[in-house]
């Protein structure tokens, strides 16, 4: 037998039983099983961090393994090995990973041992050539509370009369516009939401998808069915929802974190959302900021709820180009802030119920619905141009609340209702 062939056979046999290969396989297996065991919240006193490793672009490989999904790429085991090594070197526990091709990184969640200083480990990782970057996992909170013919509750919807929703529906309903609701779980089977949820995914580890109050309420404001004889009418009743559960109900509130939100944003990017609704707020976050930036670069409109308790309104509302929205009964936060109905808003609730809600979360949902309407009429307008047309073009006069009919008239040149201001924006004349 030729030496070359012998070499090949020896290498195959050696690698089949190679400890490194076995360790890699075990690592991959562990990583695949850890998420099921990992709780949504770290154990008390055990902080978690995110470690980003470079995710190469797909390219020619001799073995030709081309994954059918971004989670099935051939080089994943290489990154698993590096992550295992990093976790071992710093005394951490590798929990799971989530490739984010939009950012060219594979994001590894790692849990620190009790008493470890996250700042020291992050500083050490930032100097490590194997690591693209690393950051702490931060907490975010939903910005709204819940209480408990056509559409019986339509008349009490605060947007019904001022936004002339009934007349507007003659011109636009948000038909086929895909709106990602990154929130707690949405009750897709609610009678006022039946058929409105096109995609549903859970990104909260250790839990299955469940219907929750905040997500269901936000979804209802955006896209509850109209003229179905029950409940309310959404601002864009023919929009399609992507119900991405990145938040969970806990301690009377709705919580999310950097990792769950990043996974959901990554999913929304991969599935071509046209509007992303983030009715939540928290601190500045590098990973989320980059994902929002990619969304904006792809023309997606991103809507964030303002947290009145934070001086900058909180992230993502404070991020440039994001539609930052406050409730119209709250003080105007800054010149770039939009105000929309956000007090005593009737909307859908889990258990096939309806209830009244208040907060900037629901004001943001109104703006997401508005953007879906515009998206139907002017699908070629990017989120950046819309932001320019709606927010920055509002001039020095403070916006006390959106005049939806006038806004749509100005942006699209189309309106079926009595528009107080017939002037149209240059965007209306664009193709």
């Amino acid at each position: 037998m030729k030496p070359g062939l012998l070499l090949v056979l020896w290498l195959v046999a050696a690698l089949a039983g190679w400890p490194g290969a076995q360790a890699a396989a075990q690592a991959a297996s562990r990583a695949a099983t850890e998420p099921a065991k990992a709780a949504a919240q770290p154990a008390a006193g055990a902080a978690e961090i995110l470690v980003m490793l470079h995710l190469p672009a797909p390219h020619f490989r001799a073995d030709g393994y081309s994954g059918a999904s971004y989670r099935d790429d051939a080089g994943r085991q290489a990154r698993q090995r590096i992550a295992e090594t990093l976790a071992r070197e710093h005394g951490m526990r590798l929990m799971e990973d989530w490739p984010m091709p939009a950012l060219n990184v594979d994001c590894f969640r790692m849990r620190l041992a009790a008493g470890q200083d996250p700042a020291a480990i992050l500083a050490a990782l930032s100097r490590d050539g194997r690591v693209a970057w690393a950051q702490a996992i931060q907490d975010f909170n939903a910005q709204g509370g819940t209480g408990a013919a056509g559409d019986p509750l339509y008349r009490v919807q605060p947007a019904a009369a001022p936004w002339q929703l009934a007349q507007l529906r003659k011109a636009a309903t948000g038909r086929k516009v895909l709106v990602a609701v990154i929130d707690s779980g949405v009750e897709a089977g609610h009678p006022d939401l039946a058929g409105q949820v096109a995609l549903q995914e859970n990104f909260v580890d250790g839990q299955s998808y469940v219907a929750e109050e905040h997500g269901t309420a936000v979804a209802g404001v955006i896209a509850a069915r109209a003229d179905n004889g029950i409940g309310i009418a959404g601002i864009a009743p023919e929009a399609r929802l992507m119900a991405l559960r990145a938040c969970w109900q806990a301690d009377g509130g709705t919580r999310c974190n950097s990792f769950t939100l990043a996974k959901a944003l990554n999913f929304a990017l991969l599935h071509n959302a046209q509007v992303i609704n983030l009715s939540l707020s928290g601190p500045q976050d590098r990973l989320l900021q980059q994902l929002v930036g990619v969304a904006q670069a792809r023309g997606i409109s991103v809507v964030g709820a303002i947290d009145p308790a934070r001086s900058d309104g909180g992230f993502p509302a404070s991020s440039p180009g994001v539609f930052a929205v406050a409730a119209d009964d709250a003080p105007r936060h800054n010149a770039q802030c939009l105000q929309a109905p956000g007090r005593d808003v009737p909307t859908t609730m889990p258990g096939a119920r309806w209830g009244m809600v208040s907060g900037s979360s629901y004001a943001a949902a109104h703006v997401s619905g508005m953007l879906a309407l515009i998206g139907e009429l002017k699908p070629q307008l990017s989120g950046e141009r819309l932001h320019e047309g709606i927010v920055r073009s509002s001039g020095p006069a403070p916006l006390t609340g959106i005049d939806l009919c006038a806004t749509i008239m100005r942006i699209t040149g189309k309106c079926s209702c009595a528009c107080p201001n017939p002037s149209t924006d240059k965007l209306a004349r664009s193709p």
């Binding site: 290969a21 890699a24 001799a62 290489a78």
Partner: protein, 242 residues
């Protein structure tokens, strides 16, 4: 029969230089090293068998740098039609790939093939490609494909989709255009399913090639009167990825 070029040892040197580059890059701290080792029931390359229809072992290595550069190599226990026993067939490659803000990615690179015991078959190619979601397209240009003195362009389109229970479906369509001798052009296609289980990769595919004026499917490249034949074969592969 085509005339063979003089033995192109510089092509063999190019192959091992690229493999050496991959090995050198693998030692860098930020390098991501992956690969696979395994067996295939028949080593089909663009529609023709390079293992005389016999099973072959293959080992591949791929190295990704932090800034988009990549390199790699492969060795297969192949057997050309003119050979009486298996010989190592080497492949080295290197290039650059980048993902664009739109989500699409592009790549450009070169590859070099060396056949132990048949250096006249050695050849090099340059390639460019695009990939998006689960699809990729690539164009390869060779000034002297398989050493036959024929300039060729090979176009391939690949796709895949996830199936239930961890399986995935994949397909490829390819066309090799022989620029000097159109009779040597051929179309090929591959369709199959694969599954990864704890580091093991199992693939089952149906490979088909439409040969124009070629006498055999075992690496022979002899012209026969113009005709068109479709040959197909089921191929099973098992590999350990690392």
């Amino acid at each position: 029969m085509f005339l063979r070029m003089p033995q192109p040892f510089h092509r063999q040197a190019c192959t091992f230089a690229l493999i050496g580059l991959a090995c050198a890059a693998a030692t860098a701290a930020q390098a991501q090293v992956s690969g696979s080792a395994g067996l295939v029931s028949d080593y089909l390359y663009r529609g023709i068998s390079l293992s005389s229809g016999k099973p072959a072992a293959r080992l591949s290595l791929d190295v990704d740098g932090a800034h988009g550069w990549f390199a790699g190599g492969q060795v297969v226990s192949g057997q050309l039609a003119s050979q009486s026993h298996r010989n190592a067939q080497w492949l080295g490659y290197g290039g650059y790939a980048q993902r664009l803000p739109s989500g699409m990615s592009w790549e450009a690179g070169m590859s070099a093939y060396a056949f132990h015991g048949a250096p006249g078959w050695n050849f090099r190619e340059a390639f460019v490609g695009l990939a998006f979601d689960n699809y990729s397209a690539r164009l390869h240009y060779s000034p002297d494909y398989l050493g036959f003195g024929d300039r060729t362009v090979y176009a391939e389109l690949n796709g895949g989709a996830a199936l239930p229970a961890g399986w995935r479906f994949f397909w490829r369509g390819g066309f090799l255009a022989a620029l000097n001798h159109a009779i040597n052009s051929r179309a090929e296609a591959r369709i199959g399913v694969a599954r990864a289980v704890e580091g093991w990769q199992l693939q089952l595919s149906l490979d088909a090639a439409r040969l124009r004026g070629q006498g055999g499917s075992s690496g022979s490249y002899e012209a026969s009167p113009a005709s068109s034949k479709v040959r197909s074969k089921t191929v099973l592969g098992l590999a350990r990825s690392f």
